[in-house]
């Protein structure tokens, strides 16, 4: 049997978009081998209500684990039950999102099972005994084809690469008890601080407007936020120069040591285009750059460059984008 176990990541009682991406990738693998997709859904009592969305994206079975100790992430207990389910289920592969949560859980589960793992995968295929994964290495400057021998293979999937595809399945719900007492975990999340309110996360946003030191002062980031608002579906990012100076929180940083993003459109505002920044955004589909230095390295990767002062160009661009989006 070649069933696939997919971890359906939720936060605050609802599924995250990466959960549907994980199910979609699992469906593709399972279809290639004639197996089933089993989604693992862990949360506080009531999380089971999310099962239908998982079924709608290709889960044959939804394994639901509900317990008050899963109100916040509970990595020890989640890893323990994922490993137990994996042992019982004889899975070919276990998929997680390469999110902060998935990247934390997946290596724990792989170590418990004594199996191989590869992270941040952009493509996946099963060939005979080997699971083959495409894995960016060297800060995205190289692409490796990695083979994992043995079952189950543990994989985390790069967000925004496996577009969720509706594919209705039975989604038979199977309640599973936690392994041991999830209230007894040594590592305890005491608090979840929601940043950015209802705003789009950098990993989910189709458009990112990112600002650099060329904005001169923290308060000029208002211009970046206005452009993001004009797009309507945009998140705001920043360079390390800017997060170091405290103009923006560290969580907004894009690059080698920040977030890796790949939106449909990336607008780089007053950003020089240092290699460490490019490492986090160079796979964006379309890149626009505004910089007053025509030799700035960002123009080497920008599909559309404007040489000019951001403080002058941004308001005009914002107005033009707002106009273009009228009626949306």
């Amino acid at each position: 049997m070649s069933n696939i176990l997919a971890f359906a990541e939720a936060r605050g009682g609802t599924l995250r978009k990466v959960a549907l991406e994980t199910i979609t990738a699992a469906r593709q693998l399972a279809d290639a081998t004639g197996g089933e997709v089993h989604a693992l859904l862990v949360g506080a009592p009531g999380i089971g209500a999310q099962s239908s969305q998982l079924a709608a994206h290709g889960a044959d079975v939804v394994v639901v684990v509900e317990h008050a100790a899963f109100t916040y992430n509970n990595p020890e207990a989640s890893a323990a039950l994922a490993a137990d389910r994996a042992r019982a289920g004889n899975y070919r592969a276990i998929l997680f999102a390469a999110s902060a949560t998935g990247r934390d859980l997946a290596p724990r589960v792989a170590a418990k099972l004594g199996v191989g793992i590869v992270s941040d995968v952009t493509e996946l295929a099963l060939t005979g005994d080997t699971l083959t994964a495409t894995h960016p290495m060297y800060a995205g400057k190289m692409l490796a084809t990695v083979g994992i021998i043995g079952t189950p293979a543990v994989v985390t999937l790069r967000p925004n690469r496996f577009t969720p595809v509706p594919n209705e399945r039975a989604g038979r719900v199977e309640a599973m008890p936690p392994s041991g007492d999830p209230g007894a975990s040594r590592v305890v999340v005491k608090e979840l601080q929601q940043g950015g309110g209802a705003k789009l996360d950098l990993g989910d946003a189709p458009v990112i407007v990112a600002g650099g030191r060329g904005l001169k002062e923290a308060r000029n980031f208002a211009l970046v936020e206005e452009l993001a608002a004009a797009f309507g579906n945009a998140a705001v990012g920043a360079t390390r120069a800017v997060t170091d100076d405290g103009w923006r929180p560290h969580s907004d940083q894009i690059g080698q040591t920040g977030r890796l993003v790949s939106p449909d459109l990336y607008v780089a505002v007053g950003i020089s285009g240092a290699i460490q920044h490019l490492a986090g955004m160079r796979t964006s589909k379309t890149i626009v750059a505004i910089n007053r230095d025509k030799d700035a390295p960002i123009f080497k990767v920008a599909d559309y460059g404007i040489v000019g002062d951001v403080l002058e160009v941004l308001p005009v661009l914002t107005a033009a984008v707002r106009e273009a989006r009228k009626g949306h």
């Binding site: 936060r11 999110s99 902060a100 990247r103 934390d104 290596p107 724990r108 792989a110 170590a111 199996v115 191989g116 793992i117 590869v118 083959t132 894995h135 290495m137 060297y138 800060a139 400057k141 190289m142 692409l143 490796a144 084809t145 083979g147 994992i148 021998i149 043995g150 040594r186 590592v187 305890v188 999340v189 005491k190 979840l192 601080q193 929601q194 996360d201 950098l202 990993g203 189709p206 458009v207 969580s251 080698q256 040591t257 290699i275 460490q276 796979t283 589909k285 379309t286 626009v288 025509k294 080497k300 990767v301 599909d303 559309y304 460059g305 404007i306 040489v307 000019g308 661009l317 984008v321």
Partner: protein, 250 residues
């Protein structure tokens, strides 16, 4: 406290990488190597924890060929007390194989804290810390950007996408370090001199079976060369038109 810091020697990511003969890795020729970025943050965190405490010992551990001793000396020159070189021919890609060697060394070492970088940028895998913690059966918090230790317990902050978690844990524990801490210190001249006399122990590493291997290495597809549309506000209308008609993102 007794603290271990696991340090990997990695290529400078600003290098221009070429594919090695055989097609399964990158060519080391002409490339500079140094301590991994996040590992240097881990070293800094260890130093600060013990500076605050006023006592303790920090041990840097690295698995790799003889050249990793250079990186361990750098750690010693930052102020770390002693180093252990786990010697092998080449560092494998398989995170579990690495974690097993590190866990065997760390086991029984009576460490209060074991620190890792959140990720080594060459492997870009980010798994060895949490895997080692599992093998040792220790509590583990990954990718932390803040840390407080008091009374045998720790509190850490982890950045999530658009949120953050405040996490509590007992010691001994394994932590993997993200950015957010003070910049790693540069070795002082005095530190460099002192490092020469600090103990660096070499042990043969027993690398087990490897099930995860790089079969092929490629350069990512090149982006089309950049294009400057125009200057100043006069270029805005054309860029918006191109976003609508050519890129179709507006």
């Amino acid at each position: 406290m007794k603290i271990a810091v696991c340090i990997k020697r990695v290529a400078d990511m600003e290098s221009r990488f070429r594919i090695a003969p055989g097609g399964k890795g990158v060519d080391d020729a002409g490339i500079k190597f140094d301590m991994g970025d996040f590992d240097s943050y881990a070293a800094e965190v260890a130093l600060q924890v013990n500076e605050k405490d006023g006592k303790g010992e920090i041990v840097a551990i690295s698995l790799g060929p003889d050249v990793v001793q250079e990186t361990l000396r750098k750690a010693l020159s930052m102020g770390i007390d002693r180093a252990v070189h786990l010697k092998c021919d080449a560092v494998p890609f398989d995170g579990l194989a690495i974690a097993r060697v590190l866990a065997a060394e760390l086991q029984g070492g009576a460490y209060d804290l074991i620190l890792f970088g959140k990720m080594s940028l060459d492997s870009s895998n980010g798994v060895v810390g949490a895997m080692t913690a599992e093998l040792l059966g220790l509590p583990c918090v990954t990718a932390i950007s803040k840390l407080d230790i008091a009374g045998g317990r720790g509190t850490a902050r982890r950045e999530l996408e658009g949120a953050a978690e405040i996490v509590e844990f007992p010691l001994p524990a394994v932590l993997t370090i993200d950015e957010g801490f003070a910049r790693p210190r540069y070795p002082s001249l005095k530190g460099i001199m002192a490092a020469k006399k600090k103990p660096l122990e070499v042990k043969a590493a027993q690398l087990g079976e490897q099930r995860v291997t790089v079969g092929a290495m490629a350069l990512p597809p090149e982006r089309a060369p950049g294009r400057i549309v125009g200057e100043g506000v006069a270029a805005v209308a054309e860029v918006v038109r191109l976003l609508q008609t050519e890129a179709k993102v507006l």
